[in-house]
Symmetry: C2
Subunit: 392 residues, 2 copies
């Protein structure tokens, strides 16, 4: 493709050469499978709510697909993170390590536990938590006492870390697991964006104590709203089911609850949609990879910008296709956002860094040079799997 040297213009052209003239959403779901059949089955049975076979099936299908020993379906990814932190033992007054570059849910889930985030840097390769920078931070700021990691500056226990697989690209999970081991931290994987992404053939979300998924409308598969908890610890899976279903003890009619639980169960109606979507996931993943390859070809000659590719040894689901502007061209980001959105091509920057938000501004943090740079340079472009299955 010929380029003009006018970056916003060239980016509009490159996107349109792959995906057409639009208008294009950032990520649109596709309902070409059994959605209709299963929803109808759900209505006909009258089991649309807390009881029904689709919840059990969805959990079982998710466990099969990811290889986790247990999957528990919940109402959304935020709820999954909240429960994961609780099950990992995060208590009021604790601290939890998070990437500064993440969606708000990761930080809010920590706040729901009355714990405080510690924000750490990301690496440019995966866009996720940087294991080297994390180790540096902990080596300086923390010490181990009685097998607990203590933040020297605050005196509080750092209980866990929650790396996130950004836009579907797997974080360097093995290196992070080593840090977690050395500093006595629980590791929870925020795999909200990475359903279908693997590291060395193993599904993201199955490396740590608990992993969490999201099936929001903009995700690779959707249940309307929904999420899941993954774990290889069967007892922990049972606990997850119990506290996400109001902690009610099983009984033919009595209503007795043995702890403060949550009403986080996924309705059967939404699980029905999820079962149909999951059947199509292999096709979605194939199309999303094809879309990446087409974009890569289209952007090959556009100077000053590159498409983020899966890290070595990993397979990414390519949830959101991501442009990274050169540092010197970061000041053109808003012009690119304006030109693309004005052309009907939905694009967006990455989230505001968590440490920049008023409610988290005073939380402890490591130096964040890479996250600060990425926050100025990332642009997500139209990524619907349907765009990968049509001829350019």
């Amino acid at each position: 493709m010929d380029t003009t040297g006018n970056l916003p213009h060239d980016i509009v052209n490159a996107i349109q050469s792959v995906a057409g003239n639009g208008p294009l959403a950032l990520h649109e779901p596709r309902f070409n499978g059994n959605e209709w059949v299963y929803l109808k089955e759900c209505l006909d049975s009258t089991f649309v709510s807390s009881v029904g076979k689709f919840v059990d099936r969805f959990e079982s299908d998710l466990a099969s697909f990811t290889g986790a020993r247990r999957a528990v379906a919940v109402v959304n990814g935020t709820a999954a993170l909240h429960v994961a932190l609780r099950l990992a033992g995060v208590q009021a007054g604790d601290e939890v390590l998070l990437p500064a570059l993440t969606f708000i849910a990761t930080a809010n889930a920590v706040a729901y536990c009355q714990a405080t985030p510690n924000f750490v840097d990301s690496e440019e390769r995966s866009l996720g938590m940087d294991a080297v920078a994390l180790r540096d931070y902990l080596s300086n700021a923390a010490e181990i006492r009685n097998y607990q990691c203590i933040n020297r500056n605050t005196g509080r226990v750092i209980r866990a870390m929650v790396p996130m697989h950004t836009f579907g690209h797997p974080v360097d999970i093995e290196a992070l697991l080593a840090v977690a081991h050395d500093f006595h931290l629980q590791l929870i994987e925020d795999a909200a964006e990475s359903l279908g992404s693997t590291v060395g053939g193993q599904h993201t979300g199955t490396f740590g104590l608990i992993g969490t998924l999201s099936f929001n409308g903009n995700k690779t598969i959707t249940t309307g709203g929904g999420g899941a908890i993954l774990t290889n610890d069967v007892e922990l899976g049972k606990r997850a089911k119990h506290i996400t279903t109001t902690a009610k003890l099983p009984h033919r009619w009595d209503f007795v609850h043995d702890e403060v639980g949550y009403n986080y169960r996924l309705p059967n109606l939404n699980a029905a949609l999820g079962c149909a979507q999951l059947e199509q996931l292999p096709g979605f993943l194939r199309d999303k990879r094809l879309l990446f390859e087409r974009y890569q070809a289209a952007f090959a000659n556009v100077r000053g910008v590159r498409l983020v590719a899966e890290p070595a040894g990993c397979s990414s689901n390519y949830w959101l296709q991501t442009l990274l502007l050169d540092e010197l061209l970061a000041d053109q980001r808003d012009a690119v956002l304006i030109a693309t959105n004005d052309a009907g091509l939905m694009t967006r920057p990455v989230w505001a860094l968590m440490n920049r938000l008023p409610m988290y501004a005073s939380a402890p943090k490591a130096p964040l040079p890479v996250a600060e740079s990425l926050a100025r340079r990332v642009i997500n472009i139209p990524s619907s799997s349907g765009l990968g299955s049509v001829a350019p």
Copy 2:
């Protein structure tokens, strides 16, 4: 109907004479309207999730039906209660007045705010919070300092009360509002069970600062899972929408959140179901009232048990039809539960009193003689609106 004097046997006969031989669920939804059309519209548009016209329409339809100035749809009734308490100013360390006789969600929502319940007694007439007993309790246990109600025993602020309209029967809301006024308490109405129930023609959930609804699968109308916040305070309604949608500031593409919010929005898919259900609500209410009248006739000659009727001046939605055993026959409750459930007629006792659950056992409480008695004597019987529309 002839009765035998064998209470379990007579109750099985009375239920069957009205509702048939079963098997009968406790409360089954009916999908005879536009459920199908709206769900299909939802899938065809691809807007199943956080954006879509059915959420706006459902909120507007709920506001019209209830007469509330603003309705905000959320993911379930528990979430609605949690947010209502937050918006009412309930803070960590506060106390909140609740009936001991309620569903677990009311108490859990208080716990989510790191506040402590105070359990108070119910009245036999409405099964709800007893305004006279509440005033007695507060007169003894609390005092007003600087316009705040302080629990003398704990030194903590009692910030709010949350009466609940049990099984759809309106609580004595005017008397409770007077107590709230005199003791400087916010009043939140847990109207989870009372959609369609009114007091003096005004819809339950619109008397206090905020009211909450539930559309769980067993409720009068269902969205699979869902709930809503009702308020006549437009500014509070805006705040409710903001913090239930992650507190994101509106912007063409930026992701900036200005406080710790929640991912409590109702998916468009579930709202589509809700719109169709709400259209049929007047018919459901008519049928549920007819069912009550049939049961009332059938139980007229059964000694030792009465059917709970709507309080004077109120219209109940008759969500769950409720038998109340005479105190002297309370020891036959389990025999009735066994006989009915064994006959395929789903019945159940009321919830375990909140003060009996381990996590709330140490919370402050008033004397609870009526709640204790009701807990031994209540039996809910099959209540689906469909049972009211068929010939006996």
